[in-house]
Symmetry: C2
Subunit: 418 residues, 2 copies
């Protein structure tokens, strides 16, 4: 009886909302960009003012294609310095070395579960997939993998889910780590903070998604950030991997999927030892997204393009993502999920000036591989767009977002052949 009343109540609210909405004549198109009707061109909306302030704050350390070789080297050192300041990795002493807690034999490799201790009260688990032929005698290349939003290390390793029994691995990332280990490389895979075994109440409560934003908020209160924490933990593990006798320290590749490309960029520009990078997402300009994706939703909300797990205060005043990929040059980078040709031209310039013109391999999504399907010469995304338009202009095919083994594996094998 009670439940029926609740449902009737909900229905009544829905109907009332529908009627109310019909009275309104709000048209998102009219508000797609920030406008002012004042003769002096000033804005009253705080949001519009914020937009103006961000426009005025052109990133200080943008890659400029006219840089000469020495200038490029100096610029790279500045990018590294800025990133180090932004990531704020603490120096934590007195913690035990990583411990191996479990081993499972699979066909051709074993899955080792390890723990690392980033702080006094903290433990973080990670998986290391080791080919059967690994030994200290002939060290192997290693690949460090970071998952996408909502994915787990088990998903990337092709291991059974710890949360949803029966689910073997996330189809989107296609067992990225398992595919690498099967090629004969030692492969390490971590969880993103707040997800997988690092989650909070999500598994216990059967929630459908991880709450990244609240953990991000906790970090921001501490004058840190989600990426600062996440890159600190990954860097601890990576530095430990480098010292393993089975690992060829000069042949470590960082392979980030989707959300996992953020730690790739942060650690990549800070750590000169990494050999190459698999940037498995479209090459995005986050700052441009913020400045152009200003079209409100149908209900009038003009929300932010992403949540605060992506927020590093001040980050976008230094650089945007293509600048960071440029700063990885001359070390090889594959971008197997496209982006704007503008950004590919820019990054290519960096590889040219660094002396490795063929080090950068961008590949568009299949539906955009024919140049006539893309706006090859587009230099700026227009203001006032929504996310669908953004993806179209950035040559992104969202339903086909996934690990691009068909491009990545041959590229990796070619790089790592002896």
């Amino acid at each position: 009886m009670e439940k029926r009343h609740i449902l009737i109540g909900i229905l009544a609210v829905l109907v009332a909302n529908t009627l109310y909405a019909q009275q309104k004549t709000f048209n998102p198109e009219d508000y797609a960009t920030y406008k002012t009707s004042r003769a002096d061109g000033r804005y009253a909306s705080s949001r519009a003012i914020g937009n103006q302030l961000m426009k005025a704050a052109e990133p200080m350390l943008q890659f400029r294609p006219e840089m000469a070789r020495e200038e490029f080297a100096t610029w790279k050192s500045h990018v590294k310095q800025a990133m180090t300041l932004l990531m704020k990795h603490p120096i934590v002493k007195g913690q035990p070395a990583p411990k191996r807690v479990h081993v499972t034999q699979r066909e051709g490799y074993r899955v080792e579960k390890w723990e690392v201790y980033p702080f006094e009260k903290a433990v973080v688990s990670f998986l290391m997939l080791v080919p059967d032929n690994a030994s200290g005698k002939k060290p192997l290349p290693a690949i460090f993998c970071t998952p996408g939003w909502g994915q787990t290390k088990e998903g990337l390793a092709g291991e059974p889910s710890l949360n949803k029994p029966g689910e073997e691995y996330n189809p989107q990332s296609m067992g990225m780590a398992r595919q690498y280990v099967r090629e004969g490389y030692i492969t390490v895979v971590v969880d993103n903070p707040g997800s997988g075994e690092c989650c909070d109440t999500e598994w216990a409560a059967g929630l459908g998604s991880y709450d990244f934003a609240t953990f991000g908020r906790a970090m921001l209160e501490l004058n840190w950030s989600y990426l600062g924490y996440s890159s600190y933990v990954s860097k601890l593990i990576l530095d430990w991997v480098k010292r393993l006798p089975e690992v060829r320290r000069d042949r470590i590749i960082f392979s980030g999927f989707s959300f996992g490309t953020e730690p790739l960029m942060a650690i990549g520009v800070m750590d000169d030892e990494i050999y190459a990078f698999v940037y498995n997402d479209y090459l995005c300009r986050t700052r441009e997204r913020i400045l152009t994706m200003t079209k409100p939703q149908a209900d009038g909300h003009r929300s932010y393009p992403n949540d605060i797990a992506h927020l590093i205060p001040g980050f976008l005043m230094y650089f945007d993502f293509p600048d960071l990929v440029a700063a990885l040059a001359p070390r090889p980078v594959i971008c197997p999920e496209g982006g704007m040709d503008r950004d590919f031209r820019l990054v290519r310039k960096a590889f040219e000036v660094s002396g490795n013109p063929d080090g950068f391999l961008p590949i568009h999504y299949k539906m955009y591989q024919d140049a006539s399907t893309r706006q090859v010469d587009l230099e700026h995304q227009p203001e006032g767009i929504d996310v669908e338009t953004h993806f179209r202009l950035a040559n992104v095919d969202p339903p086909h977002h996934g690990f691009k083994a068909e491009y990545v594996l041959p590229w990796v094998k070619e790089l790592l052949k002896e």
Copy 2:
């Protein structure tokens, strides 16, 4: 026909969700605090680790009741310095002086609408309520008012709403500014950024609430904050008010309602010229709220106690709100909406050491005025509570949150009598 289908669809989803929820056995009580079953006491949950890190980061500039008078003065200068660094007010040159754009005569006073120009592309409106007897010959005291969450300057001034015709003023703040001007004081009132005339699409789309968080996010990306921006704009106006010939510069009171107590504290500790403060909210410890309000909601979400319009990265590593009220001593402060006796004892100590023991007037909500209704000796709120328990232990009576004219007006009149 289509609409009926949508409603049936929504109903089906609701029923399915209800059935799904009944299968779960999640009990928020079991997760009220962060727990670990590990023998080494380490936490796997990133959220739990974040909680541990915040616990370890005791605020650097807490007021210590054992401070001697000189030490107190040094500490106050450090609080001022830290707040100045946190608020990051820019120096913007070449902008025009504020302009008066409109005047409305009311009984006994006039309402002047002014504009200030905080940035090249920005305009912010504010109201100045001027008693009929004001003149440059005998300057009057002035009161600077900041509204609560979702309120407008018109609401505080008792002026007709610019958005909802017919709504004269917000009943909760009870026309705070109008009550002051009727007592014969020049009264200035601003909108909070992102609300009132500073809002974005909210009025046009008929949204029921203001989106403070998205503007806050925009500021955070710029390495600034909502409060940094808001206190910058208010300080510009306040500094202009100080120079008006009609205003008695040494008798300016800052009166913040609810959310508006945040700019009060920020500007209060930075600007020694303000004469006294009306802190019209309960005296809260935000850091303690974060560390103790850890009980998940029924659905399992363990969300943050407030949104990012309240976030100033690193702020809580310096001080919490009672420390800031302590740093206002010896200048008079009234707290007419209670709080914990612990915090009142602390602030009282600051007023004693500053040489003005009676300068601080805390008054509990009516339902908590009898000491037997409060836990007078409570030194810490326990971990694992929800917001209702927090309010109860902080002696807050939420339905009666509002401008406490009955306490504030006599206190102000006594202070400002000649």
